[in-house]
């Protein structure tokens, strides 16, 4: 672990102070962060299970990245806008996006479908790094409006190799856009380690574009919250973009289709298991006397119920009707879509069930 990462909680849960980024939270707020992380881990685990049971086609697990996602998401204000990648389920939960939306996408029911204006949480983006430009453009619009809104873009270490991410950094700098670039460096882009993506620590990229970059311990929810909050405030003050590199680890596979045993060492995984973000906060809560075993049991039970409820809703999710293929291709009528829909209807009608049951 790089020594220059901002840290407020050591891996064994000891609270340390930081000269530039510190934060004081109430016991209730600390418990809230714990609950967010536990619920997110449980929903994520449910995604993996549902894929294994054939209910989902694919699921990208966030296991190990709960602190980075919850810490940064809880730094946001309701009016802020989030441009996620596709593994940011905990951010979605913190923004009150119904997790069924996320599961629907990976079940193959739709390709998104939630309304970004409902919770300021934009659609998942599967093309690596594309969303950083959308976030930057959105932030440029915020600046034109003179609004108090800040924007955050989530992406991974692999994305930093994409031209779009460098272009986003540059546009954001040139236009002083109020956007925070939040990179979850989870060490792996499928099977490629970070060394295959970059020769310099990712946060140092910002310097070349003319804005600050900072590395934070991505498994420390307090540090992630403190640093992201400072970056968002900076953006709101009109001081332009900032890059936050949350140094974390992808404990699971890239997705359920991946087999990480083929390319990475189990010793490395075990080492990172010792830095678990949830265990770390739990130790801190116990240390403070801010929570007792009955509280932790209650959160576990809530998570179990959430997962069970979600499972039932996923299984009963109706398949989309076939004509959804032709819906919303364009905002206004398009002759070719209309013509093909009609031909499709006529063809499908050949198979219509006639008569009784």
């Amino acid at each position: 672990m790089s020594t220059d990462a901002v840290q407020l909680l050591t891996p064994d849960g000891r609270r340390v102070r930081h000269p530039d980024y510190d934060i004081d939270l109430s016991h209730e707020e600390l418990r809230g962060l714990y609950r967010d992380m536990v619920l997110a881990r449980r929903v994520d685990g449910e995604g993996v299970t549902l894929q294994r049971q054939g209910e989902l086609g694919l699921w990208p697990s966030l296991l190990g990245q709960e602190a980075a996602q919850v810490g940064s998401a809880r730094a946001l204000r309701p009016a802020d806008h989030v441009f996620p990648s596709y593994r940011d389920h905990a951010v979605a939960l913190c923004r009150d996006v119904d997790p069924l939306n996320l599961l629907a996408m990976f079940r193959g029911v739709n390709n998104g479908g939630w309304d970004p204006t409902d919770h300021g949480f934009h659609l998942y983006t599967l093309v690596i790094g594309s969303q950083t430009l959308h976030a930057t453009g959105y932030a440029m619009g915020v600046a034109k409006d003179g609004a108090e809104t800040a924007v955050i873009a989530y992406f991974g270490d692999g994305a930093t190799s994409q031209g779009d991410v460098s272009e986003a950094f540059n546009f954001a700098a040139v236009y002083d856009a109020p956007v925070v670039f939040f990179c979850q460096n989870n060490q792996w882009a499928i099977s490629e380690p970070t060394e295959r993506q970059t020769r310099v620590p990712i946060h140092r990229r910002a310097d070349g574009f003319g804005f600050p970059g900072v590395r934070v311990d991505g498994n420390d929810v307090l540090a992630c919250l403190a640093v992201t909050k400072a970056a968002l405030e900076r953006a709101r003050r009109g001081e332009g973009p900032m890059l936050v590199e949350a140094y974390t680890y992808r404990m699971g596979a890239h997705t359920t289709s991946d087999d990480p045993t083929k390319y990475r060492d189990s010793a490395e995984v075990e080492e990172w298991a010792g830095r678990d973000p949830i265990a770390r906060l739990k130790a801190h809560l116990l240390d403070l006397g801010a929570a007792d075993p009955s509280y932790f049991d209650a959160v576990d039970q809530e998570a179990g119920e959430l997962a069970q409820h979600l499972r039932a809703r996923v299984r009963s999710m109706p398949a989309p009707d076939a004509e959804a293929i032709f819906r919303h291709v364009y905002a206004d009528p398009h002759a070719l879509v209309d013509e093909e829909r009609e031909a499709f209807r006529r063809y499908e009608a050949n198979f219509a069930v006639t008569g009784g049951n």
Partner: protein
């Protein structure tokens, strides 16, 4: 497309019909759209003080300011990607790509993001972004400055693709593109920028996706769009001297395509020659030929023929006249059609 409402001129004295070069008509359309809707923005390389390399945005930054006429960094993916973000924020960006051959760094954002976001959001997101691309050859340019990539965009659902051939269409189709809630790829025939035509800025236009019969004829139909329309009109005028009556249809829109108007014309003439500067192989003419064969099988006296570019990189300027469809190649195709 969304209807364009015609607003009175800001100075109140603009005459309704004037003769304007095509490029100037585009400039006036941008100005009118910006006056009408404060959410309309212009973005691109050199669009501000320079007014664009073809001066299409001339004077607009001076009058509307840097916040609305934005000189961007030299990065097409960045321009298109941030335009998407601005549209998500409620703006209506009109992006200028400097030349056809430079659109490809932005192609990914156009194809994977711009074209699909409306569908991905189940209709909740609208991206009213216009991508203006000066295209086509005939100007003696260097590499990457003379290409016709419209088929590469027409293959992508979610994009509307139009190309005016004259000043009046340039004005109104750009107004309509900006008013559209769908993304529009707006191909401008750069070699026709200086050709003048009558523009009535007060008569509300028709459907931009409707083809126009621009010359009536009996013996065969010539179909073209953008820069090739003028070539076809010249060919028809020449053919008339040889006693042949050619109908010319200006397609105007490459997605969607108005097959009804083409069908009506082909049912009358029995013959169709499609002309475009883009390579013939997998070009828009192939789609038109297939559809019209299906629709007009019993009316066709000859197979649908195509005249266009070759399956080769666009040649150096000193060879481009041999590559571009010209009057002789169009009339040669007409001869071949009539020989059946």
């Amino acid at each position: 497309m969304t209807t364009v409402t015609v607003a009175p001129a800001a100075d109140g004295v603009r005459p309704a019909t004037r003769t304007l070069p095509l490029g100037r008509a585009l400039n006036e359309a941008l100005r009118a759209a910006m006056e009408q809707d404060p959410k309309v923005l212009i973005m691109g390389e050199d669009v501000g003080r320079l007014g664009g390399v073809f001066r299409i945005t001339d004077g607009l930054q001076k009058d509307f300011g840097e916040s609305r006429v934005m000189d961007t960094p030299l990065a097409e993916s960045g321009i298109v990607g941030t335009a998407i973000g601005l549209a998500l924020r409620g703006y209506r960006p009109v992006v200028e790509i400097q030349f056809d051959g430079f659109v490809f760094p932005g192609y990914d954002q156009i194809v994977t993001q711009l074209a699909k976001m409306h569908a991905r959001s189940l209709g909740r997101i609208k991206l009213p972004v216009v991508i203006r691309i000066p295209y086509g050859g005939g100007i003696g340019a260097v590499e990457h400055h003379s290409e016709s990539p419209e088929a590469l965009f027409a293959h992508v659902a979610g994009l509307r693709i139009v190309s005016p051939s004259n000043a009046s269409d340039a004005y109104w189709m750009l107004r309509q593109a900006i008013a559209s809630d769908d993304p529009v790829i707006f191909f401008e025939p750069k070699r026709r920028y200086y050709e003048k035509g009558a523009v009535d800025t007060e008569t509300a236009p028709g459907d931009p996706h409707r083809a126009h019969v621009v010359r009536e004829g009996r013996d065969a139909t010539l179909l073209a769009y953008g820069p090739a329309v003028r070539t076809c009109l010249d060919s028809a005028a020449e053919a008339e001297r040889e006693g042949r009556s050619l109908e010319v249809v200006d397609l105007r829109s490459v997605s969607p395509i108005d097959f009804d108007t083409i069908q009506t014309s082909v049912e009358k003439t029995g013959r169709l020659v499609v002309v475009h500067e883009a390579p013939v192989f997998f070009g828009s003419g192939a789609e038109i030929a297939a559809r019209i064969t299906e629709r007009c099988f019993h009316h066709l006296e000859a197979p649908v023929l195509r005249v266009g570019g070759y399956h080769a990189p666009y040649p150096p300027a000193r060879l481009e006249e041999r590559y571009l469809p010209d009057l002789d190649r169009v009339l040669d195709a007409v001869d071949r059609s009539l020989a059946y």
